[in-house]
């Protein structure tokens, strides 16, 4: 399969990238590992005039502990994240999520964490060959006015299947977006638009440079469901962060539940998360209730567009959330000793 024509640029440092981004128009794309971008280009889903490679930017590949935070460079390969003791210790959900991405032998050495967050949403009607799509009216995401996944939909409901983003949102991570001359920090939870055509609230001249996870003394867990154990995107996934109160060992102080692969972005379930405050860490009944409520909340966003059946995916939200809650709770209990 051939790639469409483009010009390849390889700036030697961050400044070079930002300069280029500032001058080039919307037809420019960042090339990190290419495991998402190049696939889409081969299918003719986008035809950028220019690709700016991050190949020379070793400065964006690191995992550090600094000021009570884990800082990860955007171009850090997934493999490095899996191998990191720091991540395994302080951001277990991210470790679990990264381990499941694609397949270890290959995706992980090229695929980056930045690219993972910024991979485009997917939809079985959209991620098809150029010829397949040419045989019908274009849908919203393809520049048209209809949707094949949900009749009458006025916008695109493509699905975010990023494992990394779901885990990071559960960990309360934020990201740094740099632009020539400026920089801004956004919480991942606030990073998304409400339209699957362009799911990220981000300008084309911006570069994702860093991911920051503050270490909050809690534990996290990530669970996902897929048909196979490798080269398979999740059809439902859930990331959970739990921390216990300093005074009462068994009591939940802070909780974050995020459901992935069910909507245009990972879904931070505020109500369900909040409802766990003050609950006992060993109370499975409460977890079950919260999991069921998560299912109801998440179900309203999902459309039938990533395989399986919608009904099944909805039911499985509850199971994944429950498993992740149990996983995180166990880890908290174990850590407290």
């Amino acid at each position: 399969m051939r790639l469409p024509r483009f010009e390849y640029l390889e700036p030697s440092d961050l400044e070079g990238v930002l300069n280029l981004l500032a001058t080039q128009g919307d037809d420019t794309k960042i090339l990190a590992g290419g495991t998402d971008l190049l696939v889409r280009m081969k299918k003719g889903l986008l035809k950028p005039k220019t690709l700016i490679s991050l190949k020379a930017l070793n400065e964006l590949s690191y995992i550090n502990e600094e000021d009570g935070c884990i800082k990860i460079g955007a171009r850090t390969p997934i493999a490095d994240i899996i191998a990191s003791d720091l991540i395994q210790k302080e951001a277990f959900a991210l470790f679990e999520a990264c381990e499941k991405i694609g397949a270890i032998s290959i995706q992980h050495y090229r695929g980056t964490i930045g690219g993972n967050i910024l991979q485009d949403n997917r939809c079985i009607h959209y991620n098809q060959s150029e010829f397949h799509r040419s045989g019908r009216q274009p849908c919203h995401k393809d520049g048209g006015k209809i949707c094949y996944a949900r009749d009458e939909a006025d916008r695109c409901n493509s699905t975010c299947q990023s494992d990394g983003a779901t885990a990071l949102m559960a960990l309360g991570a934020s990201i740094t977006l740099a632009k020539k001359g400026t920089e801004r920090v956004v919480e991942i939870a606030n990073f998304y638009t409400t339209d699957g055509i362009m799911p990220f609230a981000m300008e084309s001249s911006e570069l994702l440079t860093e991911i920051v996870i503050s270490i909050q003394g809690g534990k996290s867990s990530y669970k996902r469901l897929a048909y196979r154990s490798a080269i398979d995107y999740p059809i439902v996934c859930a990331g959970v962060f739990l921390s216990a109160s300093d005074t009462k060992k068994d009591e939940i102080e802070d909780a974050r539940i995020v459901v992935g692969a069910m909507g245009r972005s990972p879904l931070f379930l505020v109500q369900e998360s909040f409802s766990l405050k003050g609950k006992n860490l060993n109370d499975t009944e409460v977890f079950k209730k919260v999991a069921d409520s998560s299912m109801n909340s998440a179900s309203t966003f999902a459309v039938h567009n990533v395989g399986s059946t919608l009904e099944y995916r909805c039911v499985m939200v509850s199971e994944m959330v429950l498993q992740a809650l149990k996983g995180a709770a166990q880890a908290v209990v174990a850590a407290k000793g």
Partner: protein, 760 residues
């Protein structure tokens, strides 16, 4: 009496695949790798509708694109050019398309990029028509017709049998169970995609490099193509590059082959067409999706009284050899277990789906899924343990089945015992864990589907004791090359490396019907053995004069020709050959042999002895069902087969392991998702093949019943691995959590829904 394993020197040995080294070094040449000077790249344009009239086609812009050599619309294809079993499928369609896979035009250009661009420039105006996608609905009276000239979508094929008296059998039954089972379309997913390269020489003789499992029949098809092009008395040479997987996908000739020929003829240049993965998914065939209504009964002791099956097969829009799979389905239906009263009726129905074709097992997996699932249900109804139930009804050696199949050797009993041992071992029953089994019968000695089931072999020996054998057989990774070499080496006292197996070129290899029906070991093996025996006899005759002993006293081993017990009378075979060659009236040692097994064509009532011998097997599986997610995890798998004689256990295991995993995919994850005839999962991400991480270890014990008819006692084993896998899994799922899934694949959502229904 046949020999014991220890008496063989080459047969029965774990000799690595002869071409493994070149493959492991990346030096094997597949169609993807072949380039010839001046070669153009061909590409095919497909329909954008499942059913439509072609109103107008405009190729002018494509023709004008620099780098394009020719554009071929349907109207430039001779009217008489048709493909398939029914000859109902023109390689490029002119007036009407009947499926998304329909070819509507083709181009040849100097590189793939331009070829693709040219396709984009072809303008076609369609008038969409109503399609029909459900075979059962397509049978209804007022259903739209896929082909207007037919009166009904049901193909006029005579697939029905009735032996004994089913109605009487039912009346005499103590227990009767009936149900409906369905299977979906799955596809071969050869890792090497399809492709062909066609070139004409200066005198218009044609050479086609193609991935085919049927070189001789392909040659015949291509000759037809030349004939309709007005090229009479020309030659066709078919060359097979190394094939990146077959599994039945290459048992017919296809549009890409004929189109490559047409393009090459039109531009007088070599033209190669190679599919990309999407095309491989969309423009190759699936296994026949089926709907099966089955009813079986037994008496109060568990003896089967009758089996009554009605089946509807989704033929798709055109008729390839897949429409003949019911003839193979008849085999398990009439002859798996002993049942006197059998009725079977199958209807192949045109729909606007992609047309279906042969795939490993040739119908047997679909039929066995229904039979073996239903047997477990019947056993439960009768209150008999499913293993015991099978034992009560098991096939035995030296018996003729209702369809007149002459079962000579049969190791089904041994296989049942072995699987029982395995399944009953281990700890007490855990929650969500269950075991299941299913048996199989398959043709093990060819199958006379075509007029001849034969294979030719030509053998020559050189002055250095090396052998070249030119065989009609085809290797596509399954190991026909080794089997041939090992058989010849055994017979002539050589080692496998001394044998060069040439199987790639119809100019030098004799005729063969094709690599199907698990027949290569048996038929090509016997052909090679026949030729080797002839040469052996000639050497014996020569050596007899030389050593001055009767010819039959002369033996062959370790590259020596010798008279046992006489140290003086022994000579390296190469030396002897040179003596034969470089003497007055010298001779070279060559022989040919054509082996056509002693099996029969169907008579009117479909009775006959279809195969010279039959392969039996039993699979057992232990699964764990996650009751929260519905996911089925395979814990252990055992596939026991009666293989006659394992010519090469290493390769045999490879066939079984590969077959079983393909069967597990069929059982659990694989499905071509078609939405109104359009393939929606034409990639490896959405079509779920198991990965190494999902795969389980499989035990593959073999029983060697040493069949008289087989070469050194061997039977075929290419397909059985994937035949009873799905019902074994379905039975295990039932055992584990008490839900019976009757529609393949057994996906988590189906299991969960069934659990929900059961638990209320």
């Amino acid at each position: 009496m046949s020999k014991k394993n220890s008496e063989f020197s080459v047969v029965g040995k774990r000799i690595p695949k002869l071409d493994a080294a070149q493959k492991a070094m990346g030096r094997a040449e597949y169609i993807q790798d072949i380039k010839v000077p001046g070669m153009l790249y061909g590409r095919i344009l497909y329909s954008k509708y499942a059913s439509a009239k072609i109103i107008k086609i405009d190729i002018s812009k494509a023709v004008a694109l620099p780098g394009v050599h020719t554009v071929l619309p349907g109207e430039d294809v001779p009217e008489k050019m048709k493909m398939g079993f029914y000859k109902d499928n023109p390689p490029i369609k002119k007036d009407k398309v009947c499926s998304f896979r329909d070819e509507v035009a083709a181009v040849a250009a100097i590189n793939p990029e331009i070829a693709k661009k040219a396709l984009d420039l072809i303008e076609i105006e369609y008038e969409e028509q109503i399609g029909i996608f459900d075979p059962e609905k397509a049978m209804e009276k007022d259903a739209p017709l896929v082909h207007e000239h037919t009166k009904s979508n049901v193909l006029k094929l005579p697939w029905n049998i009735h032996y004994g008296d089913v109605d009487k059998g039912e009346k005499e039954s103590a227990f009767v169970v009936e149900d409906r089972f369905t299977t979906t379309g799955v596809t071969h997913c050869c890792m090497g995609t399809s492709g062909a390269l066609a070139l004409f020489d200066a005198t218009e003789n044609l050479t086609v490099y193609t991935n085919t499992q049927i070189p001789s029949l392909a040659q015949k098809d291509f000759l037809e193509t030349l004939k309709v092009l007005g090229l009479k008395n020309k030659r066709v040479r078919v060359i097979k590059p190394i094939i990146g997987g077959g599994f039945g996908s290459k048992l017919d000739t296809y549009a890409y082959e004929h189109v490559a020929i047409l393009l090459a003829y039109k531009c007088r240049k070599p033209v190669k067409i190679v599919f990309d993965r999407v095309e491989e998914f969309k423009a190759t065939s699936t296994r026949q999706p089926t709907v099966t209504y089955i009813k079986q009964g037994c008496d109060k002791n568990g003896k089967l009284t009758f089996r009554d099956i009605r089946m509807v097969l989704d033929n798709g829009a055109y008729t390839s050899w897949g429409a003949t799979t019911p003839t193979v389905m008849m085999m398990p239906i009439s002859s798996l277990y002993r049942v006197k009263n059998v009725r079977y009726d199958a209807k192949c129905v045109y729909t606007n789906n992609t047309y279906s074709q042969a795939m490993r097992g040739y119908g047997n997996p679909q039929a066995t899924f229904a039979i073996e699932s239903n047997i477990d249900m019947l056993a439960e109804e009768a209150g008999i343990d499913p293993i015991e139930f099978r034992r009560i009804n098991q096939n035995v050696p030296n018996e003729t089945t209702p369809q007149d199949f002459k079962i000579t050797t049969c190791g089904l009993a041994e296989c049942i015992n072995e699987v029982e041992k395995e399944l009953k071992s281990g700890t007490a029953k855990e929650k969500g864990v269950g075991v299941g089994m299913a048996s199989l019968i398959h043709v093990g000695g060819g199958a006379r589907i075509y007029k001849s089931d034969g294979c030719g072999a030509i053998l020559k020996m050189d002055d250095y004791g090396k052998v070249d054998i030119f065989t009609g057989g085809t290797d596509m990774g399954q190991g026909m090359d080794n089997i041939t070499a090992q058989i010849v080496a055994e017979e002539l006292g050589l080692s496998a490396e001394d044998i060069n197996v040439v199987h790639t070129d119809t100019d030098i290899c004799p005729w063969d019907v094709g690599a199907h029906a698990s027949r290569s070991t048996f038929v090509a093996g016997n052909a090679a053995l026949g030729a080797a025996k002839k040469v052996k006899q000639k050497i014996q005759e020569f050596a007899s004069k030389f050593f001055d002993v009767p010819a039959k006293e002369i033996q062959f081993k370790d590259k020596l020709v010798f008279v046992p017990g006489d140290q003086e009378k022994s000579m390296p075979i190469d030396k002897l050959l040179r003596k034969a060659h470089f003497s007055q009236n010298g001779t070279m040692l060559m022989a040919d042999y054509f082996y056509d097994p002693d099996n029969e064509s169907f008579r009117k009532d479909f009775k006959c002895n279809l195969s010279a011998t039959y392969t039996f097997g039993v699979h057992g599986v232990k699964v764990k069902v996650d009751e929260e997610t519905g996911k089925v995890e395979v814990l252990d798998y055992i596939a026991a087969h009666d293989v006659g004689q394992a010519i090469n256990p290493l390769l045999l295991e490879g066939q079984v392991y590969g077959g079983v995993l393909m069967g597990l995919g069929y059982a659990l994850t694989e499905e071509v998702v078609q939405k109104n005839g359009e393939n929606m999962n034409a990639n490896f991400r959405d079509y779920k093949l198991f990965t190494a991480k999902d795969a389980v270890n499989i035990k593959a014990p073999v029983f060697e019943t040493a069949d008289e008819a087989g070469p050194f006692g061997a039977k075929g084993i290419g397909e059985p691995g994937c035949v009873p896998t799905a019902p074994a899994v379905a039975n295990a799922v039932y055992d584990a959590v008490g839900v019976r899934i009757k529609d393949l694949p057994i996906t988590p959502e189906k299991v969960l829904a069934a659990l929900k229904e059961k638990n209320g």
